[in-house]
Symmetry: C2
């Protein structure tokens, strides 16, 4: 049975970088952008739509509007995307040991394969510093914009999993990447994986 | 300036054991029962009262009743205990590097000394198994009784700190002691402390 490391993360916390570092240390693949590409190929959704709607609710104050059009008349586009995303994640997990970043993989896989469930976070200041340094964004991030992203990611996660996002007890390891450093985080995760 | 490891934990998760193991690995003191003894000596509260009321709200459905008598007429006994507890924790932290288990030490110390803030948790099953194996309790623990303890500890923490207990982003490290093992948890914490 495959053993999978799932990495949930706050936007700007370096979770994706840590995922790649862990995968490299362990000699296993890390899936992140690949998931988006595969869903696009199989579903016809464009990559930009998948990137945004596969982890976030829409902006908007009304939750039923926020989660996607057509909610009251059957499956919304976002529901259909969820189903495709779930399929791709299950297929990747079946292929063998790997790291999967984001996209509720922790919830999708937890009862099906052996998982090390990780949550990566850090302070607003650290996230803003990291985004300014490494992300090629047109808009300057602010505490308010990041809080908005957290809120929409939490709402998406809760809607599809009925579980709170970012609650310590739902993960095996939660790490503050800014305080610990991304290299230390990657070492901790790789060592836990090897020792289990 | 002192460097302190604070260990918050779910009841039955082994946080106290991990605290002692970390302290031993690092050659620094671990304060747990010692805090209770010191508060008792300084305040006149009996140890049993401190053990219970220094981390839990009272049982009871009404929050204002739950937090302690005399709420509306000034400081409650529990408020007075909080003040004594805060004093003792600050004095211990000033003495030098140490591990402090529970009692909102993470919140009390976070802006005053350098802290590694840890939260230890694990599944209900693991907690019940651990309590049956190691704790000398007269009553058999159940999911319901542990949920009650979590609820009262969370309410206490939130009342005095205005911060959510058990939310990943409030700690540098959150570890599932049952999945990782107490020895691995202690290693991770000691290594993070040494590497910072």
């Amino acid at each position: 049975m495959s053993r999978i490391i799932t990495i949930s993360r706050q936007y700007g916390s370096g979770g994706r970088t840590i995922g790649r570092m862990v995968a490299e240390k362990l000699g296993i693949p890390c899936y992140d952008q690949e998931i988006i590409t595969q869903i696009a190929e199989k579903s016809g959704f464009c990559e930009e739509y998948i990137r945004e709607k596969g982890e976030y609710t829409n902006t908007g104050s009304n939750f039923f509007n926020a989660i996607g059009i057509g909610y009251l008349s059957g499956l919304s586009l976002q529901d259909k995307l969820w189903i495709e995303q779930e399929k791709v994640i299950l297929e990747l997990a079946e292929k063998g040991d790997c790291v999967i970043v984001g996209r509720c993989a922790d919830f999708i896989l937890q009862d099906k394969v052996e998982c090390v469930k990780v949550f990566i976070h850090t302070s607003m200041k650290n996230r803003i510093d990291r985004i300014l340094k490494y992300y090629n964004e047109s808009e300057v991030p602010t505490e308010k914009s990041l809080e908005g992203k957290d809120k929409r990611r939490r709402a998406y996660y809760q809607y599809y999993t009925d579980v709170d996002w970012g609650i310590a007890k739902n993960y095996h390891l939660c790490l503050d990447s800014g305080e610990l450093g991304v290299e230390t985080c990657a070492d901790i995760i790789a060592n836990v994986y090897k020792s289990k």
